[in-house]
């Protein structure tokens, strides 16, 4: 495959899927690390485009590439960095929701953010993250329960 043939297909892929991949990785690792590893995953996709293009679930594959790339960031247990909430309810502080989300387990946070923040379906979330559908439901339920408890405690 030549670069000239690969380029448009890769560009189309990034346009169609790059944002989703970043959303999933930011949900898991926070903004700083998630953004960085999503770029790394796309760079990997470019280098191995012939193989990635042929995959049934390239987003799921690249999500795992991003998860592997994030390992080095975890060496020193970097906390998950999420942005402050701009539309803050009157009784809350701007950091409450971000902090509460950062307190969830990785899978809980990914499921809550993808499904309830970015409006992904359960199926799409499961495909991207490699979790089963029941697991997505469980993580979501537990994540929301913990989120409510956390936000309740902050009041």
């Amino acid at each position: 495959m030549t670069m000239s043939r690969a380029q448009p297909a890769f560009d189309d892929f990034v346009t169609a899927n790059g944002r989703q991949l970043r959303q999933a990785l930011v949900a898991r690792f926070g903004v700083d690390v998630g953004t960085e590893v999503s770029s790394e995953a796309l760079a990997y996709a470019w280098q191995h485009w012939q193989r990635i293009e042929a995959l049934d679930n390239p987003i799921g594959y690249l999500y795992r590439v991003g998860v592997s790339a994030a390992r080095r960031h975890h060496r020193w247990r970097r906390p998950v960095a999420l942005p402050l909430e701009s539309a803050v309810p009157a009784e809350s502080a701007a950091e409450d929701l971000a902090h509460a989300l950062s307190c969830l387990t990785e899978h809980q946070r990914v499921c809550v953010i993808l499904v309830h923040v970015h409006d992904w379906s359960y199926e799409r979330t499961a495909a991207a993250t490699g979790l089963s559908l029941p697991a997505v439901g469980n993580h979501l339920r537990r994540g929301l329960r913990r989120l409510r408890a956390e936000l309740e405690n902050d009041r």
């Binding site: 959303q23 903004v31 020193w76 950091e95 953010i113």
Partner: protein, 238 residues
Amino acid sequence: MNDPLLDRLKAYGGDLDRAADRAEAGASVDTALRATRRRRVLLVMIAAVCVGVVVTVLATNHPPGPRIETADTTQPSTTTLTSTATAQVTAHFEFSSPEVVAGGILDGWLVIDNNTGADIDIRDGGCAPKWGARLTNTTVPPSAFFTLECSIDPAGSTLLPGTTRLAVALSAIYSECTRDPIPTDAPMLACLPSPADPMPPLPAGDYEAVFVGALPGVPPPSPVAIRVVEPPTPATTT
């Protein structure tokens, strides 16, 4: 029925995407991290301490740098001396002793020989460079934290031709600790009770003093072997 939490989460999507866009564009992201940690965790990161160092004065041959010695005639101090050379600029550490007491501070110098015949601009993006020295070995990483402010020190922004000695202090303490309850697998140590001096001392052993940060135009000096020793036990009287 409306669920306020779900509504809140949905509205948060824009914040997340905007933050990721900014991060992708290279801008710093205003995260809740600091604010939440202020409330939940007291993670003490003291730039000066962590760097273990503090480069109190970053000046050059310009008078009147209080801790800068400029002369080629300056004799190296007592101990360790190694150097890394590039074409015409060399740098090496000199410390007053090869040993430091755990929890103590070892004074030293970063000695830079500028043989280019011209001034070297050591500003980092227009700001005074941030650098220092840390003790490290196989179990203690050379963590260093610098403040983000941009200080402008015209006197300390240029290395004149000749030898410049920049003061450096090497602290035999950890660079970070936490007052949070420590989970069993946490890599971070608990802070000492003292609010003024919370960093735990490094355990006794063999370490290397390594350069951390960046000093544009100057090659990093070679590491220097330093031994951290236990503090002397006070004599007991009966």
